[in-house]
């Protein structure tokens, strides 16, 4: 017997995914900026879903406060740009800032358990929101524009922002994919399934959770950067809104918690719903909540989790298959 990780299907699909990424990179060269802006929104959703899934699906960390990092990314960009940094460099710096801040926050937040952690993170996000509201230089409660973006011609700006979104999404998804394929990946999935049993097999649960928390800090920071780059105006009430967490939970639960592919599908679905029901409003939110609850009850594994279970299909392989070695006799 030997261990195989790739199958023909998964090789084809992973190759196909890479091809899609390359094709997406060409979109701004061919299509209208309206579509480019919409696709940027989609990439932000994919990134957020993947990060929330990394936290909840592998670390068992149910956060309703990831908007704290979205806000740090968004306001960090404005802050650095106001201090004379080129906007796109400011965006990279703001992403690094969000990731760096996540480390000290983890020292506090990861001491909390389950519901305490969820609420604790929400409190942290609200505190950040209040700090911004008190700072006149950041526009206080009324919001602020990233005026430095005016130096770019709108079509180019949209294209640059889209490419940055694509780069961030690819970087974070590839990082998560490689992490899950590494020996640490098995440990992370073990934590997802049974934390205490994982501990008794030598998994340092606290350190692994910190790794995921910081990764998600960087990733959500990057998403916040993209929000301000895409909309050019932010206010504390929206970037620090708990609605972000609701979206993330929706995408991950519907797509498939603890699967690599599921959250991407969930993000595409949410994006489709958002573009269809453009009016928004309370009923749209009620609909989202009801759908998430329905999935939790009827398809607890989400769309992809169910497909994976029924068909044994793994497109982006983070797991292992034991197969018979070449030339080996079939075991009796």
């Amino acid at each position: 017997m030997r261990v195989a990780r790739w199958t023909r299907t998964s090789k084809l699909f992973t190759g196909g995914t890479a091809a899609v990424a390359v094709a997406l990179a060409c979109v701004p060269l061919v299509f209208e900026s309206d579509l480019v802006q919409k696709l940027t929104t989609l990439l932000i959703l994919v990134l957020l879903a993947a990060m929330w899934n990394a936290l909840a699906g592998y670390g068992g960390l149910l956060s309703v406060g990831q908007q704290a990092f979205i806000g740090i990314g968004a306001y960090g960009t404005v802050f650095f740009a106001d201090h004379g940094v080129t906007p796109y460099l400011a965006m990279v710096l703001a992403t690094l800032l969000a990731g760096a801040i996540s480390l000290p926050i983890s020292l506090f937040a990861l001491r909390l358990r389950a519901a305490q952690f969820a609420i604790g993170m929400w409190v942290i996000a609200e505190v950040m929101s209040i700090i911004v509201r008190l700072d006149q230089n950041l526009g206080a409660g009324t919001g602020i524009s990233l005026i430095q973006m005016n130096q770019y011609e709108p079509n180019f700006r949209q294209a640059y922002t889209f490419w940055l979104a694509l780069a961030f999404t690819v970087i974070f998804l590839v990082a998560l994919f490689l992490l899950l394929r590494s020996p640490l990946g098995a440990s992370l999935q073990a934590i997802r399934d049974d934390e205490d049993a994982a501990r008794s097999l030598g998994v340092r649960v606290a350190a692994r959770k910190r790794l995921l928390f910081v990764l998600a800090g960087f990733g959500c920071g990057a998403a916040g950067v993209l929000v301000v780059a895409n909309t050019l105006f932010i206010e504390p009430g929206s970037v620090f809104s708990v609605q972000w967490s609701a979206y993330m939970i929706f995408m991950v639960l519907v797509g498939g918690l603890g699967t690599f592919e599921g959250p991407i599908i969930g993000a595409i679905l949410l994006f489709a719903i958002q573009t269809t029901f453009t009016q928004g409003g309370p009923w749209y939110l009620v609909g989202l909540g009801a759908t998430a609850a329905l999935f939790a009850l009827a398809l607890p594994r989400g769309l992809w989790g169910t497909v994976e279970e029924r068909l044994g299909l793994r497109l982006l392989p983070v797991g292992y298959r034991v197969v018979e070695a070449k030339g080996e006799e079939r075991a009796a």
């Binding site: 020996p183 049993a197 097999l201 030598g202 998994v203 034991v322």
Partner: protein, 244 residues
């Protein structure tokens, strides 16, 4: 008592209370390399609690745990596993969403610190020894109870421990299955691994252990050669509910 340097794992005057109940009431126990020790006692005697305290998943109120002459009382379960103490759970706790092979791989990589091909080969060998090879690609949630118990053992073995703590993995096995389990444990013992095995089915234990410990109400009431321990009045009382 023999020289203590020979001892691989020791519990020294361990006490643990849950509320008003003294679950462990001053337990002293030594394990030597290549020694298989059986633990018997009525329900609620503190057997599983002792195992959890040894494995580090439960902290004792007082007393200490010494592994290879190092005090490991303050070290958590993960650290102790990396040092070489592996355990199974009475109620199997498989990683439901992972395959049987991936379950075992966690022990080999996290606890056993193996990487790549080395880890794979170790896992394949352990699966073969525990007769799980045919189920290697099955998600663990689909396994039956007996298969889950075998998986518990396989995961613990993949750590390549110096001390193996088994918690009732023999219950419900057929004669052939328990014979295979006895053979596995004997093999481990002969390779120099210290095995502590909690089991209700005394006649299975008697086939492999060289020493039997009987617990009752948080205390060790007998510790010695199996034939002697089972014939002691106190042990019979504890099981049959006589009492003074």
């Amino acid at each position: 008592m023999e020289a203590r340097t020979d001892v691989v794992l020791a519990a020294v005057d361990v006490r643990k209370r849950f509320g008003a109940l003294a679950v462990l009431d001053g337990v002293n126990l030594d394990l030597r390399p290549g020694e298989a020790v059986g633990v018997v006692g009525p329900n609620g005697a503190g057997k599983t609690t002792l195992l959890s305290v040894l494995a580090g998943s439960l902290a004792p109120d007082t007393g200490s745990i010494v592994f290879k002459s190092r005090d490991v009382t303050s070290r958590g379960a993960a650290d102790r596993c990396k040092l070489g103490i592996a355990r199974t759970h009475q109620v199997p706790r498989p990683f439901a969403g992972m395959t049987v092979f991936e379950n075992v791989l966690v022990g080999a990589t996290a606890g056993g610190r193996h990487r790549g091909r080395e880890a794979y080969d170790l896992c394949l060998e352990v699966l073969d020894r525990t007769e799980l090879t045919q189920l290697a690609n099955r998600r663990a949630e689909g396994l039956g109870l007996m298969q889950r118990k075998r998986l518990e053992l396989a995961r613990a073995l993949s750590v390549e421990p110096a001390v193996l703590l088994l918690d009732e993995i023999g219950g419900g096995l057929t004669d052939a299955e328990s014979a295979a389990l006895v053979e596995t444990v004997a093999g481990l013992r002969d390779r120099g691994i210290a095995v502590l095995w909690i089991e209700h089915i005394v006649h299975v234990l008697m086939q492999v252990v060289g020493r039997l410990v009987c617990m009752d109400a948080g205390k060790i009431i007998a510790d010695g050669r199996p034939e002697e321990v089972v014939s002691q009045a106190a042990v019979i009382d504890a099981y049959l509910g006589g009492g003074p």
